[in-house]
């Protein structure tokens, strides 16, 4: 399946608005049945990219192929794709049923066929049947998500696009909907292309993730690859809180950290590495009783601690910078604030990235 022809192919895709280059030379293949997520901060061009794929925006340069057919000029209403918008864009003057059946009505299907399919889809997205005649304005946030999803599925599109549909939803419901969305991806077998600014959300759902920065796709990989081998500082910091130290390649294979005047043991260096950053995740950082317990260590003092439920996070001040250490609750640090502490890590738990 991995080597089959891609369902969606972008070749040097570029979009300019006046002098602003929103999407810059993006090339990407998306496979049939894949859950692909594009992650980036706001303004990184991910929404523009998705709008081009959906036919709501025309590329300035480059090509889009849908199953080997060039679709640059094909408008949204003639593409076998469907989008779930950030605002959901439900038709507020219509009922739940009328919203879901909109695409079928546009195709001229009979009222009976529409109703049958509409009710079946409501079942798929777990909306109760008596919602059929309810106005969408009377639905809750989660119910509106389900209506939008059912509406997008109604035309049986080849690809479903999602433009951050969960960004305005509270945490617990979002977690629930993430899981449901991933399950829906399994049951329908359709290709999902999802965009979000939350890498955490992307990790939960995606087969592959693409990271966007300033209009460019800077890294593509599985959630594990992105997590374990971020390509640059931007990607590593996008993952959430990490500890970064500016370092240079030193003699005898180690790395020098000018800020602490220390030499650390080095993880595998990227080709031609001269200077960059050493990244250590909070959960890889440990409290030490003695410097010999880890390959590298730093002296600091415990500045503050935060309970995160199953985990506890510590901020340790060392050499004028703040380091983050995270432990499971059962392995919490036994001591008080302002204690002098030793923190350390092993080279295998750190990553070297360039700027």
């Amino acid at each position: 399946m991995v080597n089959a022809a891609p369902i969606l192919r972008m070749v040097n895709l570029t979009k300019q608005f006046g002098r602003l280059v929103a999407v810059n030379d993006v090339s990407l293949d998306i496979q049939e049945g894949e859950f692909f997520t594009i992650v980036g901060p706001s303004g990184s061009g991910k929404t523009t990219l998705l709008r081009m794929l959906g036919g709501l925006e025309k590329p300035t340069a480059g090509d889009i192929f849908l199953r080997d057919e060039r679709v640059n000029q094909v408008p949204a209403n003639r593409r076998p794709t469907c989008m779930v918008f950030q605002s959901l864009a439900l038709f507020n003057h219509k009922t739940v049923g009328q919203n879901i059946e909109f695409s079928l009505k546009m195709r001229g299907e009979s009222r009976r066929a529409r109703r049958e399919r509409g009710l079946a889809l409501m079942n798929v997205v777990q909306l109760p049947e008596d919602y059929y005649d309810k106005s969408v304005t009377k639905c809750s946030g989660g119910e509106r998500q389900r209506v939008a999803l059912a509406r997008a599925l109604a035309s049986d599109p080849d690809i479903l696009f999602f433009d951050e549909p969960l960004s305005a939803i509270d945490y617990r419901l979002r977690k629930l909907l993430e899981v449901e969305l991933k399950d829906l991806h399994r049951t329908t077998g359709k290709t999902f292309v999802y965009i979000t600014h939350s890498l955490e959300e992307a990790m939960v759902m995606s087969d592959r993730i693409g990271i966007m920065q300033e209009g460019r796709l800077i890294q593509i990989g599985s959630p594990n690859e992105i997590y374990l081998q971020p390509r640059n500082k931007f990607v590593s910091e996008f993952m959430g809180e990490v500890n970064t130290l500016a370092v240079q390649a030193g003699a005898d294979g180690g790395i020098d950290c000018p800020a602490f005047e220390r030499r650390f043991t080095s993880p595998v260096k990227p080709d031609g590495f001269t200077d960059g950053y050493l990244v250590i995740r909070p959960e890889s950082m440990r409290f030490l009783n003695d410097p010999s317990e880890a390959e590298n260590h730093l002296e600091g003092s415990l500045f503050n601690e935060y309970a995160l439920g199953s985990r506890v996070q510590y901020h340790v001040s060392a050499g004028g910078s703040m380091f983050v250490v995270e432990k499971l609750r059962e392995q919490a640090y036994q001591g008080g604030l302002n204690d002098d502490v030793l923190i350390g890590w092993d080279a295998k738990d750190s990553v070297l990235v360039t700027d």
Binding site: N77, M83, F91, H93, K94, S155
Partner: protein
């Protein structure tokens, strides 16, 4: 709790007093139209419906109301069409010169109506349009279209343009998206726009007086009569005109409701 009840009753009394103060004049016009006296009096001492007999019996009454109705009806219809597209340009699309347009469109509202009426009369004469109720329609439109545009714009501002995109994305062409999504979503704004247009035109005097020529609307007649010789037909005509407007608007509203019912039933 005790305290709260006090405050609520105080608010109720205050509100009642304000309403009384504002509505007594209107109420007194209506009561005096049912009075026997030849003069405008309040409270009414002796009751009679003879002024209604006289007013309703006169051909004049029908003519005046028909003229007012033609003018207000045409104004409402044209103003809603112009105002709708004007509002889309005002609030929906971003284009070069939109800010200038937004200011330009407000201009007639700030202009004193009497001066505007005179200016329009001079302009009509210059281009060779004879003053008549049709000319008055144009005069009213100059002042009312901007207002209707603003009223509809409020609805357009609240419209999520992504709904149109969603319609395209779900297979609708431009016309289908307009008919299925944009128009129904903006319908409440169009309705209030039409309501405003009708009422503003129905009650307008300064523009009508300069531009209707030989035709006369209800308000014009009322004003002229008050100047040239009071008769109790004035409050009677005023009351009739209010009833007329209520009947027309309420009738129109009922018509829309029945239509919607029918459409919903057909969808069942």
């Amino acid at each position: 709790m005790e305290n709260k009840r006090w405050v609520i009753s105080l608010i109720a009394v205050w509100t009642g007093a304000i309403a009384l103060f504002l509505y007594i004049p209107i109420f007194s016009v209506i009561t005096s139209s049912f009075g026997k006296s030849r003069y405008f009096r309040f409270p009414v001492k002796a009751w009679s419906d003879k002024w209604y007999d006289q007013t309703l019996g006169a051909n004049l009454t029908t003519d005046l109301h028909l003229t007012s109705f033609y003018v207000a009806g045409c104004v409402a219809l044209i103003a809603v069409v112009l105002g709708f597209f004007g509002a889309l340009a005002f609030a929906r699309y971003n284009w070069r010169g939109r800010q200038f347009y937004q200011r330009l469109i407000m201009l007639p509202i700030f202009f004193p109506q009497a001066v505007l009426g005179l200016a329009l009369l001079l302009w009509f004469t210059f281009v060779g349009v004879l003053p008549s109720w049709e000319a008055a329609v144009f005069a009213h439109l100059v002042w009312i279209v901007p207002i209707v545009t603003l009223v509809i714009s409020i609805q357009v501002y609240g419209f999520d343009a992504a709904q149109e995109e969603a319609a395209y994305d779900l297979g609708a062409n431009r016309w289908q998206a307009f008919r299925e999504v944009t128009l129904p979503a903006l319908a409440p704004g169009l309705f209030s726009g039409a309501l405003f247009a009708f009422l503003l035109s129905w009650g307008n005097f300064p523009l009508s007086t300069f531009t209707t020529g030989a035709d006369s609307t209800v308000t014009e007649w009322l004003y002229t009569k008050m100047g040239s010789g009071y008769t109790p037909m004035i409050p009677t005509m005023g009351a009739l005109s209010v009833f007329g407007a209520i009947v027309i608007l309420f009738g129109g509203y009922m018509f829309l409701i029945v239509q919607r019912r029918r459409r919903l039933e057909r969808n069942e």
